[in-house]
Amino acid sequence: MVEQNAMIKTVNLNCYYEDQQVLQNINLEVYKNEILGIIGPSNSGKTTFLRALNRLNSLNINYRQKGVIIFENQNAQDIDDTLLRKKIGIIFAMPQVLPISIYENIAYGPKVHGVKDRAKIEFLVEDSLKKAYLWDEVRDRLKTSAAKLSGGQQQRLCIARTLAVEPDVILYDEPCSGLDPISTAKVEDAMGQLSQQYTQILVTNNTKQAARVSHRTAFFLMGEMVEVDQTNVMFTHPSDQRTDDYITGKFG
């Protein structure tokens, strides 16, 4: 089912905000074309882990990091910020659209990467919207403001916007926390389809969502990665008692 070659690999990754350590010695491999779920209570460092991968953490001047992140067999440190972020896209928790048209929202990424050909941009817009399961709902109003879309539609627009820069990896930071069940199902459907082509990491507070969507699941707790395994193993016979307690709802 999943090819066993690592797309991303972290070696002894430690992250700090000022003097506070938020991640401790994270050693995790993410395989090509898998959906890796990351579950764990709030403040366990899940979001910090995601944002370390595409270096968004470094926007915070108090952030420091130790350890190595390997991306496509290359030390991520040697890759330029813009290229790294183009290849590793992120979907934020709250749907964040720019207050411009649907079309412009998606065209923005390709444009900043120097795509000038109109036909190519139009193709990318349509193709990305189709992959994000949004095309049929917006095809006749691409020029209207993206802010007029519903929350669920906006989140799928964000996915389409990320797809338009042709990434290899997509990170999701609790992408459905503000969405109703039907919108959530649509986003999950899109993720399922996208796994043919992309490597995806899903951070979620909703353990059931991780069970539904992800191939493998990692459990983070207070800055540590407790364990990672095939999703069906994690949810039936976890090897660590703390995982079992969290999944069965004894804390969290």
Binding site: T82, K86, F92, L98, I100, Y108, G109, V112, S145, R161
Partner: protein, 282 residues
Amino acid sequence: MNGANLRQKIAFSVLGLVTLLVVIPILLILYFVISRGWSAITWEFLTAMPRNGMKDGGIFPAIIGTVLLITGTMAFSLPLGILSAIYLVEYAKDNLFTRLIKLSVVNLSGIPSIVYGLFGFTLFVVFMRLGVSILAGSLTLAIMSLPVIITATKEALEAVPMAYREISLSLGATRWQTVRYCVLPYAIPGILTGTVLSLSRAAGETAPILFTVAAFYLPRLPNSLFDQVMALPYHLYVISTQVPNMPEKLSFGTGLVLIGLVCLMNLVSIILRSHFRKKKQW
């Protein structure tokens, strides 16, 4: 009615009354200036040179002088102020140097305008040998306007949601692309408001232009940027205090023209602002 509701009613009434008090001086100023100055406004007053010790003729050279000074001020202070504000908000690291710059910007706005005048005279007129000229006056006014423009631009930039920058950066845009396409377009209305405010103030200032550009009586138009000019605020000061037996309506007429000029600038900024808002739908 219970106590809490009554207190709320009293509180809002007091707030409303105080707000009304703020409007009164503005209305009174407008009333006095218009009622006493309106009769002076004729085509000749606006377009003719002053004659007969400024008691006859018009104030054309002073109008042109003020327009030139505003334009010159804008040419220097807009790029300088807006670009440095962008640097401070979007690029500068939070270190001692940056904090020093921010502190000096704040302090710059506290300096009395007459001190700017003296400074401009020393630096531009004497040291840089620009002479008493439009150039020297514009530069002096520009430096005086900088803190307000920088502060307004900073606030406008900071009001743009952090999320816009994160979206742009997360898609692999450079910092400059992010500023150019995802921050500036949304900050422009705020920048415009602050800028026009500071330029309106510069248009009405007398002290900074006193030693650097303003001419007491010069009934001709300037030939170059190195000429002196008359300017409305200084002209107003001159005819109100330095010329005996000056008809009152001429002073108020000059004041009315100055107010009109400033209102015109505000109008242009409102039109531009609503134009940008419509384009950006936010």
